[in-house]
Symmetry: C2
Subunit: 383 residues, 2 copies
């Protein structure tokens, strides 16, 4: 069904654990899909220089809610424009929305500790947002457990109405909390997590994480078997939610963890919490897989060492060929992934039995870009 | 399976359309159940004398959220005590919670236009609360459509993970909006809707409704075939949500509309919007069925006149035999129903294959009353 070695029209490939990956893609071909966006917030995002997920510091708080609104309404309601980097690179929610519309995939928004609630229908876990991990005490242990348990139940319900549950996230500074949790769990993620900037601020992330670990009294690998403590001390509220959703959902459906190195951290948690990884894959963009400043292959490989092979799937939306500068930026090392964009491309293609190809995907994304970004801008400028 | 004519241990009976009712109860016996509480708000509740769903006027706004919190946590978080009438009769959420725990029935809270959001996990439709129906313009037509469409989708998802979806509500002044919608749709509900007071304020309700109809330019029956307009002009945001949930859910599961005369109004809407009423029943308490100030039998009968027979099921929790004064009040004409209490009793009994009897139900409710009402009160009083 999927010929991963074929022509350049093919938008989906497997970067790690190829046999399992092709088996996974065959299994989800022409299935029903549901896309779930988990939005969340950690005060870690307020550390200078750690994230560009927002045009300025005040707007970063709004990014998760605005991403959710963009997916649901095609425009944001909590802020005037759409989320973008300070120099105007648009949120990957544009890609995700294009894919959900292209393949008619239903959306469920889940709030797990976001600070601004989206003006769109959503499920809220009624959880507090995360504190800065620099304190080594990000979330109460009780809250982590509650989010996790409730998400398992929610994952079961959602999975019973679909064949494949795709789980994306929007949380600013998520790669920093991912780094912290992976280090605490004994995955050497130093210099291996991605960034939405071409100039990945590894030294800053490490400094923040090391300070958090020092305050928590935690060393490399010392929380290897204590995933809940790792989240409570050094993680964010997205993590127990996505882990719970996946663990609940996999009883009834296939699960795509739609994201880059943040989802590697979630996979590390799942791997410790559950033995059922056989129907789980990570799917991301080619921009994360090929990120020269990171190494997601290494992360996934070292998480699933002991004869558990979770495939790392990628989608190449060929944005380098786009006529839109804001989209070409993705191929130049900006943004790269987020809001489950890569997984949404994989899902759209798989739902169509892989008949939706790279050209269809690029065209849909460009149309969405025109509708959600260029058209409103023209109307503001009175043209 | 169900012997409705048997001994007084039997807590469940059929008040209307008996054959269909027994068939319905047989079909749901020993099935999986999910209980959904829809919380909402209408400014109609601010009219003097129209509702006692709250200890005072300011607290009425909090009642739906507090009911949801009580169901989820076993205590309220938005207010200090639990919802009660001004003279201390407790919310029927105590009964509902007892039943969900007795029969291990999972809960989903849905916010459709509540003004205070519950501090508990819930799905929100992100809808505005309703304005007073005295203006004849309670909700925007667009909002009604959005709530309805989204609820259909949500009903489908929820129903796919259960055998029977039980839908209850908490909205103060809901019998007044129910009266208005039924009159506009040609159901002569005057002097036939229930009240949480023994002294049903029919004249006040009618005055409010007639003023609303006058302002909307609507007469008796003139919106017979325009259910969405009836809700927009004279209804509340609970209605399109419950109607949508039921219509979506009935494709995959049985549906219990858990409530009294408010659910009769929803049934009138469903009857116009859908032809699939065969797997729907109304279930309420014996206190509503036997309410001398109302007539739910008449309402259900006249809604489903043309060879559609929706059963009216009731549960008798035998609260007249309770040692607790707050519970005996239910049998004396106070509160009577709400938060899906009657339907929750039916569901608990049905889930057990009707082995859970009236004695079990009364005992569970009394235990819940001790835990949620008496114990916190004792601790406040330092005893």
């Amino acid at each position: 069904m999927l010929d991963s070695s074929s022509n350049n029209n093919n938008s989906v490939g497997v970067a790690l654990n190829k046999d399992k990956g092709i088996e996974f893609l065959d299994a989800i071909a022409e299935k029903e899909f549901r896309f779930t966006l988990v939005i969340s917030y950690t005060e870690t995002a307020e550390i200078d220089g750690i994230t560009v997920a927002g045009a300025d510091k005040d707007l970063v708080k709004f990014t998760p809610a605005a991403d959710a609104e963009l997916l649901y309404h095609g425009k944001c309601k909590s802020i005037a424009s759409i989320p973008a980097t300070p120099d105007g690179k648009p949120t990957p929610a544009v890609i995700t929305r294009a894919m959900l519309r292209l393949a008619d995939i239903p959306l469920t928004i889940i709030d797990s500790g976001s600070i601004i609630k989206p003006l769109a229908p959503h499920y809220t876990l009624s959880a507090a947002h995360g504190k800065s991990i620099m304190n080594g005490n990000a979330i109460s242990r009780e809250e982590v457990e509650q989010i996790y348990r409730h998400s398992i139940e929610l994952g079961r319900v959602l999975a019973k109405s679909t064949g494949c549950l795709v789980i994306g996230e929007s949380i600013p500074a998520g790669t920093t909390t991912a780094l912290a949790v992976m280090l605490a769990m004994g995955i050497d993620a130093r210099f291996r997590v991605s960034s939405s900037m071409p100039n990945n601020p590894h030294p800053l992330k490490l400094k923040v994480v090391e300070e958090g670990m020092r305050r928590a009294g935690v060393g490399f690998g010392s929380l290897k078997d204590r995933p809940m403590d790792a989240i409570a001390m050094l993680g964010d509220p997205m993590m127990p939610c996505v882990a719970g959703l996946a663990i609940g959902a996999v009883e009834y459906a296939h699960v795509i963890l739609a994201g880059g190195t943040q989802m590697a951290a979630v996979l590390a948690l799942i791997n410790t919490l559950s033995s059922r990884l056989d129907k789980i894959a990570i799917a991301t963009t080619s921009y994360v897989v090929n990120d020269p400043t990171a190494d997601i292959r290494y992360l996934v490989k070292s998480i699933t060492a002991n004869d558990v092979y979770v495939p790392l799937i990628y989608a190449d939306p060929m944005l380098s060929l786009s006529s839109k500068r804001g989209l070409r930026a993705y191929a130049e090392g900006f943004v790269k992934e987020g809001v489950g964009a890569g997984g949404a491309c994989v899902a759209a293609s798989a739902k169509s039995g892989f008949r939706i190809n790279a050209r269809d995907i690029l065209y849909s994304i460009e149309m969405e870009y025109e509708n959600t970004i260029e058209a409103p801008m023209r109307s503001v400028m009175g043209k």
